[in-house]
Symmetry: none
Subunit: 215 residues, 2 copies
């Protein structure tokens, strides 16, 4: 059983050299070869590839958009991105779009065949420098999510109730009605909240409450 491979690259020389490279392996079959991705979904439908090689820089529509579209229609297709640039954002965007591997073009000759095999076996081939970018991004993302250190302002239960009403945009009057207490009581609580959060206006309270998830 042969492995069908479709190529998207605007550079004919690269397409040809990839084709030649792939033909050295008997079980690889170039199912299609296209110089743009404007009809990528149709192209994939027709060529029925197991693996798509996608250049990231393409005229008309970017390779990243193409990945999104192809993955949406044919989620089982594995896509290997190729690029000359190590642009952080594009690497990241490609991954989010659903690419399964990422190869720098200057590794094409030496690594392409290996990479395709790795894709075939459920791996994700990546040039090491790309992998480094991915790991760094991963670390920054995860550390950006976690830091939920809530300094704990010792708000009482009632104060928290009032606070969450404030965050929901209620006025003192409305809060009073809502909690069945007097307007003045609400004010007392709010004053306390001001003290405890070290702020001096409702907007600051709301901002602080939301950002520090005291709500």
């Amino acid at each position: 059983m042969s492995l069908r491979i479709t190529i998207f690259d605007d550079n004919k020389n690269i397409r040809d050299s990839i084709t030649m490279l792939l033909q050295t392996e008997p079980e690889f079959e170039v199912a299609g070869s296209y110089c743009h991705v404007l009809d990528c979904v149709d192209d994939v439908r027709e060529s029925k590839p197991d693996i798509v090689l996608m250049d990231i820089e393409m005229p008309g529509m970017s390779g990243i958009e193409a990945v999104t579209k192809i993955k949406k229609e044919f989620p089982q297709v594995q896509i290997l991105m190729q690029t000359v640039f190590e642009d952080d954002d594009r690497v990241f965007d490609s991954i989010c779009a659903g690419a399964s591997g990422y190869l720098l073009k200057n590794f094409l000759n030496t690594k392409l065949v290996d990479s395709i095999r790795e894709l075939q076996y459920g791996g994700s081939p990546m040039s090491p420098s790309i992998a480094r970018k991915v790991l760094n991004k991963m670390q920054s993302v995860s550390s950006a999510i976690k830091p939920e250190e809530t300094p704990d302002y010792h708000l009482t239960a009632r104060e928290k109730e009032v606070l969450s009403c404030l965050v929901n945009g209620l006025s003192y009057k409305m809060i009073a009605a809502d909690l069945n207490i007097s307007y003045e009581t609400v004010r007392s609580h709010v004053k306390k909240i001001y003290e405890k959060l070290h702020v001096a206006s409702l907007t600051e309270v709301v901002a602080k409450a939301i950002n520090q998830r005291i709500v």
Copy 2:
């Protein structure tokens, strides 16, 4: 100039075979070899490695904790994780802890030397199946973060400026001073913002701005 490598692995056989493997390369130097990570920080301080090989399964303290500690003290040290398991969580945790590469143990013989060189050159060697897990995680995380469907309230640039001031807790007066415009102008902008966001109080504006990331 030789590359100093320190090994942490509770299995003596593996430590020895790694050492032998590394000795085939003249510029590699095994700086230290330890069977546990309880004193990993001191061990690293003494052996002064450029690269640390860390087994993920270790008695006493897990390799992941060790990575955290080593990276905290010696951030420039590159750490290559090794494991027999492809446990999703541990892979992810290792990355967050600061590991720079991830190698499955059954690739040790064939890939270790290459991987160390890639680390040396700023890459992140990963077994393809590990890379796949990382990509998948990445995709799920990013899609979990992104769903920020911002309905787009058509705020003008100036309005957004005012808005961000509001979110930072500034009063109209302060905003006026900040943006070098009149108090009344600030009010005009705020009124517009109220209309566009369909709200009627500052607290609602702040809450909406933060929650929908219009800031």
